[in-house]
Subunit: 339 residues, 2 copies
Amino acid sequence: MITALDANPILIEQTRGTYVENRHRGAFVIADAEGNIIASAGDIARPVFPRSAIKSIQALAMVTSGAIERFDLTDEELALACASHHGEDVHVLGVTSFLGHVGLSATDLECGAHQPTNARAREALRRAGEEPTALHNNCSGKHSGMLSVARALGVDTHDYATRNHPVQVAVRRAIERVVGGQLSEDRCGTDGCSMPTWAAPLSGFAQGFARMATGEGLPDDLARAAHRIFDAATSHPLLVAGTGHLDTLVMEAFGGRVMQKGGAEGVQCGAIRDKGWGYALKIDDGNMLASQTLVANLLLQFADPDETQRAVLEKFARQTIKNVRGLDVGEMRAAAPLA
Amino acid sequence: MITALDANPILIEQTRGTYVENRHRGAFVIADAEGNIIASAGDIARPVFPRSAIKSIQALAMVTSGAIERFDLTDEELALACASHHGEDVHVLGVTSFLGHVGLSATDLECGAHQPTNARAREALRRAGEEPTALHNNCSGKHSGMLSVARALGVDTHDYATRNHPVQVAVRRAIERVVGGQLSEDRCGTDGCSMPTWAAPLSGFAQGFARMATGEGLPDDLARAAHRIFDAATSHPLLVAGTGHLDTLVMEAFGGRVMQKGGAEGVQCGAIRDKGWGYALKIDDGNMLASQTLVANLLLQFADPDETQRAVLEKFARQTIKNVRGLDVGEMRAAAPLA
């Protein structure tokens, strides 16, 4: 009854000593806005949940709904809407201000609370004897964006995260226009922050990010919105993730040439803007470190990095594993040349 | 250059909504003491690092060296030597007493310090404003056992965790006698606690655990030692892991019929003692939750559980995934019937 069919290739491996201990299979695809495949491995037609990797696409609803003009939202607020932020002061203050511009507050957020991703921010909360709030949730910027959409649409903000709320209908429509094809109710899950996440083929996300980067294949209004969102995200890399995180460091190093965003369970999406290419990858087993290792290897190979950019990518492309005593006990690395 | 060869089957899957998000490949084997295969899936000849799953085999050196008699060690201390304990008071006090019996103290441990695995123990340390010590390290019981071996052998205790120290030479010899075959320097890694871990075929570990459970195929002295160690571990399940952990709950429920031990990076080993079967499994990508899900399914199917035992196993055989707001968003489960 057990099947070994449809195995994606081993893309990432982790050694212990000189011997391989773990193997991570997956698929990746780099495509242009017309859907031409630049490079790929594995099954790129298999639908996968994009999770937080497509927050920039979800943010399009902020533009199509008129929320951006209505509330005069800033580029920083747009960047926070695209973020899986680390709950540092800059993020918490930014989201608080964002909600204020929309005429709402933290109590309107329906993402739930969790400890800040950033260790120093966690420690600061602990020392102050405070519990984390919904503002610290890595998705609080996206949720603020969703609230701005609800207000712009003139609908009740309650339950804005549920599948059939007008906000989510607008988000779904934006994803379908960018990624192509219809999303299926059979492949809809609930994300960590309680918003719907819709599975679609990896190739669709790669093409979608190429469209976002170039505007090609999008109606004028969406093309302009995508341009603004990408500019906002790549101009404020710290707001999109946090101190020391791959997404932040890569976007800082590439200065607008690369948009990069991770999603839970081993997903990475983004675009090499000057080439007009989008990319998407998923590690089959959901390992995040493996997905970061893979995207760093892909950008090394396909994004023509200069020396500074190369140095940033190489830190993630081959990651040393340390044990409790701080000894180097192995590494995570590409299992083979990727193309 | 990317290869899809030698794919182990998908054994465990994780859903989000009704659609599969992650897939975990791996191999498992159940064998008797002669090496006959009762059931298996995947490549069981591929060497894997057993990590902490074979602490009970490593503990044999405590018997062969005479340390047990010399220091009049208790069953509780033997159980701690087999443990990946959770740093609860009972563990820390037990290891402190263990070291005292050997004439040593926490400063002699070379495992390094880490926060207790148990959340309440972590919180208690934090409230007391204390840093964790080597006693809280989940391997401190094993390391105390290694120190007892060094003292029994009359050798310097320093560097007892390094590959060529007489203690590790004795441990290696015990593993080779139980698992069969020679361990290779090419497949030796450094474990989380800085002791060597030697890769060997999964089938060897399964047969080895059947030998440990039955004594068959072992010289008399090792057979007696194995019997005592297994009795000690299964009589003190809380000492071997911690409150609420699968290893503890399963051994409590089976009352001596099952010895069960997890190891880092997706390994599980153990024995169904009354059947004379040992088992070993490894998830290719190292996911621990997947390895626990798999071993629970295997024990459900092969260990003839009564109603109480079944109830314990079913909690792990199908694990609900909750998101930040506590909503059920998916489950981890067997991907298909296992045999």
